[in-house]
Subunit: 326 residues, 2 copies
Amino acid sequence: MANGDKTKHWMGFDLGGTKMLAQVYDDDWKVIAKERKRTKPGTTAKQGVDRIIDTIKDALKKADMTSEDLKGIGIGCPGPIDMDNGLLLDLPNLGWEAVPLQDQVSKELGCPVAVLNDVDAGTYAEYRVGAAKGARCAIGIFAGTGIGGGCIYRGEILRGAKVSAFEIGHIQVMSNGPRCGCGQRGCLESVASRLAIAAQAARTAYRGDAPHLLENCGVDLSKIRSGALSSSIAEGDIAIEEIILEAARYIGIAVATSVNLIGPEVVVLGGGLVEAMPDLFVPQVLRSANKRVMPAYRDSFKVVPAKLEDDAGVLGAALWAEHRLS
Amino acid sequence: MANGDKTKHWMGFDLGGTKMLAQVYDDDWKVIAKERKRTKPGTTAKQGVDRIIDTIKDALKKADMTSEDLKGIGIGCPGPIDMDNGLLLDLPNLGWEAVPLQDQVSKELGCPVAVLNDVDAGTYAEYRVGAAKGARCAIGIFAGTGIGGGCIYRGEILRGAKVSAFEIGHIQVMSNGPRCGCGQRGCLESVASRLAIAAQAARTAYRGDAPHLLENCGVDLSKIRSGALSSSIAEGDIAIEEIILEAARYIGIAVATSVNLIGPEVVVLGGGLVEAMPDLFVPQVLRSANKRVMPAYRDSFKVVPAKLEDDAGVLGAALWAEHRLS
């Protein structure tokens, strides 16, 4: 970056379970430079934070910048976040607890940092520049291996006093339902995540009721990805289609609960599952939710697929940094 | 009121299914004068609004005031409300639909009027001067014949774009549960309202498993009120206590959903059922909710009985008028 150029930039950072991604944005929220690294499992929080800082520095290098060229950095992380203090509270996959990410990154880079939940970040991006642009109240539901949620209410991320909120994947949608990773039963995630669907699909394939899925990927859950499910339906596995529709029906129940409580105008559906099969998910979620809400809320909301796909999280983190730190 | 006295006052109004109540408040939110009338069923909306206006005028007369002595009136009504336009959208019990209450009362009285949902009003009163005073986020759950809910988020009533929200009585807490008045199955109201509990209690008494309840009020649902349930438990009807604890457990599931989504610090429990048996309800709701929330939210909220009892609705309407119209 030319020394005479005074323009300063926002950076977004997405800390995922398998990769981390830093992106520098221009004033139109186009990506100037990016850097991606693997998130190494089995490292300490200290090593992890060092790796985050290295990734940020490498992205700056690619943009021919230093941290002095940054107005600030937004960092989206999985799990519950203490947004006021920028603490990453609990990352069971990585074994990290109570990491003061904001302080450490801010001190090392010398610029302001805002930390938020990654799904809040994705929902915020959809609210600012995506499928829910400008909505008074928007909720985002992102269905992948798990199910995450976010809610933007009057321009701000809806949140708890100390911890981020809108954990829609862990509200109960089935009494005495399957055991969930959080320890409870019948959470939305336990019946409608990619993992929940894959487990049912594998069982169905094993029984002989989904011949195309069986032929394409056998009954190994790790191979039954969203694309494989979608292909098997296209090839004629009606039983798999029924499993997807049933999962979407449960997402609709969770949407109905959210509408009855919060009254959003826009529900954004994203994540690998929905991206692979938007035409199955979106109308079924709408139908199920509309049937379940109180009459006064019927047709008061729309259900739309996410627009921003993979980059929503990192972009949302940068947009949130602009909102919080400007 | 002496003509020279320039102090102006706020009025609260509560429109109930069986009675209407107007109260004039002083600067310390003490009641100066009140007027109560029966809400006559089978009248037109026009007759109903006239009766509301008469009640307001009679309360003013008792206070030795005219409407010129009012800063404004807050009117709490059951059912969904269009808060921006002050429309009462749907009162099935009275057969009223889309009544422009704010315009009509404001025009007739010549002072500003704010219309809100009655349970939002009660929750707002608890937030301003009651059990949830000053909370960043508080939810109120009022269990009587039905179950109503309200949420105050950062000083404002949480609401939908066009309609009031937080209809916690109609979120699903039991898959394929009993049929609810709203047309759905397994709503909180269908398993934990006074009516739901009375129906189970009557069945239990009829079977011979609640001898005290049977002796005190037979198996007529209209006679199995909160006080009768409480007395029968005190006299030794363990089966009735179990029914209450089960209902409280379901309220806890709804609280857990609210905590997972919105993260309130305070949950206020009110209504006839809870007032009659706070020691049964409050700890059981807390236990059930705490067990069901995500680990990050455990012990992040308290569950408390309402402080303001019967007057919460009318006081909350006046307080809301002050907040909205000042």
